[in-house]
Assembly symmetry: C2
Homo-oligomer: 386 residues x 2
């Protein structure tokens, strides 16, 4: 047979395989006809929502209030998904883009898989998108976390080589949170947890939240602290110029949360707790020298840390590259936290996949290190089957 | 004569010269017998206070209130300068160290010069220490800024090759601030200005402060934005574990202030304004990719910037190395802001001189670049005579 016929048969066979089983799906990726060998890619901060929670977030938006997350949530959840760009959100702007996120957040099936395929992305580690269940009254938060985790687990079970998942929980009700965390690992076989920074202005170093940290440690499951806008007691300077979110406030809020965990001593109480931070570690690697110098153990009466910040960073943290596709910053972070603690992420659908893939594939790393960042660290840290 | 006698005569001559004229002082430094050629070093974030303002700050401390700067100010100004370490501030801790700062802050003469000499530091660019005059009622703030600038100018005139100075002003009263800024440059021949971030919770992008920015631009004099603790509307998560200050809050407050300047559009209104940031640019170089991506001009309805953050950073900013003696961070910053915009600093007396000097002398920079960071950039940016 001629070359064209052979290629036709091959691609026909590949297309058929794609519809068969999840294992076959992975095989197809590995057999890609790309000239360079396929780099297995697990994206580790990939967002989804379910319709029930989208509706409940819209209700929170309509109640209004001082919370700064409402600015973005209004754009995403309180406009029909098919809204045309308007004068207040001209086409091509980030305001207009925000109105396109919802359908992609809701898709944890075929549409998302096709988008992953077209970018050569093997797996999304899925997590319920910001603000998770953390803006709901406690009883709703507990119920929605459970529902979201069930739905997530269904998708993972249908596509076990394409999706893994981080469970949600309701920090508003720590005993219920612990119960759900245990169920998420033991029964649902999810891969860890994600929390969106503060919960009703409270941070996880506060004693009422310790059972949550204790459970994550006991389960050996990482806790991803994803950003949200600064808590109300920190919000004032972030109310202008949309500074509350991904532009600036997210990093200030989440970095501050991480430093509270370090300096409060909770990482001495739960020494095997693993915290994951996005956005290249929310600038902790940049500030590390100063943190070590200014907050050395015992040097001020209000410090509670037994170790230096740099010791916690390497022992208790891992970071992802979400939303900060800068090779120089990557290099700094690898130097500070170690190559085994850095994982690739896209932040789908908030960031486009193709540039995130290009950033990874062109990263200034030796091949073995590239494999670590692209998938091997995620496999080890989140217990994802290779 | 024998070698010993010759050395004795030489060192006697050198010691005598030190007491003569300022020009001779510089000569002595250049004739140092150190085996490697002397690297001229201008330290650019060096703090002082005058007795009258120290007393007024102590009064502010005793009034109390929610302001987070009071924690450090209490340690420095509301204990006798010779207090022995106590149980609440054991020797060797940063709490104990804080009680030793006052005598060194008050010395802008012989004691400081001796300390500079023993570390091979040629010049301190002096500035009134945090919180400057910004916690005083307006009429006192205006008077104290004037007094401080006069006293600073006296010291510079007595030791013109060893001291330069950044003027203080009272943002509480913008017209008076402008008047004092003009006097500081035209009459007192000072080298620029320093402000300690927010003034009574207001940031410099607010329209009432525009005359200050306009004056700095018109005078061609840089404005150093030095940290202070987070403003009251941002303070809540920084109230624990001494997180308000150099450990963490300083950077969050001052970085946020700088981003407000970028996104408010004031740098389009005053395009030749030069802002100086300490602490390696308060993490702006780390976040730059994300700032550019998320806050591109016109992409959100509340953004006011005509340029990208990275364009402002290179056009309108310079940074210093104060309090962040990390060679990897220095490399990142040089890459992001350019070698011509990075200056060395100690942050005397808050940081020790010897390690800051060692950090500079071992910096991973080519000789010409080292000269730029050590003194040439400061000479150009602050108009210091070489």
């Amino acid at each position: 047979m001629d070359r064209r016929t052979a290629l036709g048969i091959m691609s026909g066979a590949i297309a058929a395989a794609a519809t068969r089983t999840a294992a076959d799906e992975r095989e197809r990726t590995l057999q890609s006809t790309s000239p360079k060998p396929h780099l297995r890619k697990i994206a580790t901060e990939e967002a989804f929502i379910i319709p029930e929670i989208a509706a409940a977030v819209r209700d929170v938006v309509r109640q209004g209030g001082p919370n700064l997350d409402l600015k973005l949530l209004r754009l995403i959840y309180d406009a029909p998904a098919d809204t045309a760009p308007t004068a207040s959100a001209p086409p091509g702007t980030r305001d207009a883009l925000a109105r396109t996120f919802l359908p992609r957040l809701l898709d944890i099936g075929e549409g998302r898989l096709a988008e992953m395929d077209s970018n050569g992305v093997d797996m999304h580690l899925l997590s319920l998108t910001v603000p998770g269940v953390q803006m709901f009254v406690p009883e709703n938060a507990v119920a929605f976390a459970r529902l979201s985790n069930d739905r997530l687990s269904d998708s993972v079970r249908r596509h076990p080589t394409r999706f893994a998942g981080l469970a949600s929980f309701a920090p508003q009700d720590p005993p219920a949170a612990v119960k759900e965390m245990e169920r998420a690992i033991a029964s649902l076989k999810l891969n860890g947890f994600l929390v969106n920074s503060h919960t009703q202005n409270g941070y996880l170093d506060e004693e009422r939240f310790w059972p949550i940290l204790e459970a994550a440690e006991a389960l050996g499951a990482p806790l991803y602290i994803h950003p949200r806008a600064p808590s109300d007691g920190m919000a004032a300077p972030f109310r202008d110029y949309r500074m509350e979110g991904s532009i600036w406030g997210y990093g200030m809020e989440t970095g501050t949360h991480a430093v509270r965990l370090m300096l409060s001593g909770v990482l001495d109480r739960f020494p095997r707790l693993r915290i994951v931070l996005g956005h290249m570690g929310e600038a902790l690697p940049f500030w590390l020298w100063r943190l070590d110098y200014m907050a050395s153990p015992g040097s001020r009466s209000d410090l509670r840390n037994q170790l230096k910040a740099s010791e916690y960073l390497r022992r208790n943290f891992a970071i992802t590259t979400s939303g900060l596709e800068d090779p120089l910053v990557l290099r700094l972070c690898v130097d500070k936290i170690g190559i085994d603690n850095v994982m690739w992420a896209i932040d789908y659908p908030y960031q486009p996949s193709a540039p995130a893939v290009a950033f990874l594939e062109s990263a200034p790393l030796a091949t073995a290190d590239l494999q670590r960042v692209a998938h091997a660290n995620a496999e080890r840290i989140f217990r994802i089957l290779a």
